[in-house]
């Protein structure tokens, strides 16, 4: 397949199940809501090194629980426990500390909840106040009561929901831009990143939405589980096994996490379309033979008029979902470590 002179390789991106929470951060002005959101989502490029992946949700935020300017963020983790730890740490250090902010659950319909305000409340040193909005006020949407905490801080009170919703999401959707050189590749990646930022329900967690240090599983050093993806390094072409061809000067990867497979697919489609342009030679994607990821996103069908998932894709998805669900129920530290290692192998990238 060739779109405007750019080859779309016959391959697929491999992604896996993650847990996702959505927070709505409000403040006296959008400036401070955004400041808190950017701080919360900082250093959250990969679960491998950062504990979670996070970004600002580009979806429209028509109104907020307290009517003030707000920003929504998506935070992804490999297990509910790991995600909860990250949320408590990040809301506590990046939102509660930011002037005038409040933090609310952005997934009120989710069946499962993580304790965030319930743990942060202790900062109030006994002066925190709980407020409970009775279930009778939410009769129309059938959800239960809503509890939040008012924690006294130096500019008044920090209001934070007791619990926030969590649901299954999809992490690790990706595509690779193979370009003639850094300038063309970077311009292409920036266009892709901008397009993804306009797609609701997804984040591109790496800096600016782009990765230049893709990794392979394993290393010649025993202490390292992943190392540079030598097959894609232009400076190593013809010195090591490579996938690069003559004239391939730079490769950039775009990684996408989404609230569901449809959101990731929509973001990949929008991103790849935007990436196509002068100096781009082909678009590829990262996968591991369908053995590790729960989801597969073949590139070419993204641009077919109607896309029918292949039998293999459906099978992979179903099996992967069960495996990830079973693994996610186990919250022992050993299980967490195992999951992170699996993610590391599956994603094959870290800075």
């Amino acid at each position: 397949m060739n779109i405007d002179g750019v080859v779309i390789e016959d391959t697929y991106a491999e992604a896996f199940s993650m847990y996702v929470s959505r927070l709505v951060i409000t403040a006296a002005s959008r400036r401070w809501a955004l400041t808190a959101a950017e701080s919360l989502t900082g250093f959250a490029t990969s679960v491998i090194g950062c504990g979670c992946e996070a970004g600002i949700d580009p979806g429209a935020l028509d109104e907020t629980p307290d009517g003030r300017p707000g920003v929504a963020v998506l935070v992804f983790g490999m297990s509910r426990r790991a995600l909860e730890q990250q949320l408590v740490a990040r809301v506590g250090q990046s939102v509660m500390t930011a002037p005038t902010t409040a933090c609310f659950d952005g997934l009120p319909g989710a069946g499962e909840r993580l304790a965030v305000g319930a743990k942060l409340r202790f900062f109030g040193d006994g002066f925190q106040i709980s407020k409970r909005l009775d279930a009778a006020l939410f009769a129309a949407d059938g959800r239960g009561h809503r509890r939040f905490w008012r924690i006294p801080v130096m500019d008044g009170e920090f209001v934070v929901d007791d619990r926030v919703g969590v649901q299954k999401g999809v992490g690790g959707g990706n595509f690779l831009i193979v370009a003639e050189g850094v300038e063309a590749g970077l311009a292409s990646a920036e266009r892709a990143s901008d397009a993804i930022r306009r797609t609701p329900g997804v984040i591109a967690p790496f800096p600016g939405g782009v990765v230049r240090s893709g990794s392979k599983v394993g290393s010649r050093y025993k202490f390292l589980t992943a190392s540079t993806n030598s097959a894609y390094c232009p400076t190593l072409r013809r010195l090591v096994p490579t996938v690069l061809e003559a004239g391939d000067g730079a490769v950039f990867e775009v990684v996408i996490d989404g609230v569901d497979a449809a959101a990731v697919e929509a973001a990949m489609r929008a991103g790849i379309r935007a990436a196509i342009g002068p100096g781009v030679r082909r678009i590829s994607a990262g996968n591991y033979g369908g053995k590790l990821g729960a989801f597969t996103f073949p590139l070419r069908p993204l641009f077919a008029e109607t896309r029918t998932p292949s039998a293999a894709e459906n099978r992979t998805t179903a099996v992967g979902d069960k495996r990830m669900a079973a693994a996610a129920e186990d919250h022992t530290p050993a299980a967490d470590q195992k999951r992170t290692a699996a993610a590391s192998a599956s994603k094959g990238r870290q800075s």
């Binding site: 629980p65 006020l137 209001v159």
Partner: protein, 276 residues
Amino acid sequence: MIRLRLREANRVPLEAEVITPDRLGPLLAAEIERLPVYYGNKAHPLAEHFEVAVDGAGEAADGGPTVVVEGPTGRVKRLGEQMSRGRLVVAGDAGMHAGAEMTGGELIVEGNADDWAGAQMAGGLLWIKGRAGNRAGSTYRGSKVGMTGGVLVVGGDAGHEVGGYMRRGLVVVLGNTQDFAGARMVAGTVLVLGQGGLRAGAGLRRGTVVVAGGVPEVLPTFRETCVYRPGFLAVYARTLRARGLPVPEGVLEGRPFRRLGGDLAELGKGELLLGG
């Protein structure tokens, strides 16, 4: 839907605790007509005082039955008492104890409600569109526990001791209240959008009493801490509006309130938030 129409105004109060969606929902019209109501100290069949009509329409939001009570019901006591589901609409006024001890469902009083409306309620929504009498959402004499849950909304003014002894729940009065609003609360929230009376929050241990229109005087056992804009009140206001309740914009949100901690004669962890 079950429709009950009071045949004529009664001079002696009628006690009709059987009129709840829970009790009436499963019954046929003839069975409803035989239910006892007390006229003075005598048990009468309900049909002696009410016309009964039943049709299949009008399921409430929670899947329970809908009951509509019409006629001059200002002296019909205990309507919706202990109801747990469904929807009860009183098309006119309600006598004493409307919605007392209710645990769920919706009770809508289109007119006024007499004393003890929603007393000791534990869940559900009681919306009185007119005025409420004394001790709305409060406790019965001798009991230490008032509301333990649910939402009571009064569209007009309310009498004395609104929300007294509350443990949990929400009382919203869109008009003014008389004395002792939120007295001896242990937790929960009382929102008065108009003016309060004397001794608001007296004996408050925990909990929040908000009087947007201010009070004539504050007990000396409350200590003023600051003037600030409580963000959580905007959450309340928006949630109430989203539920269809008529909370005007700008009364609770985006404006300064004096915060007073107290009652220091008790535990002192409660708060009075006073506008005006």
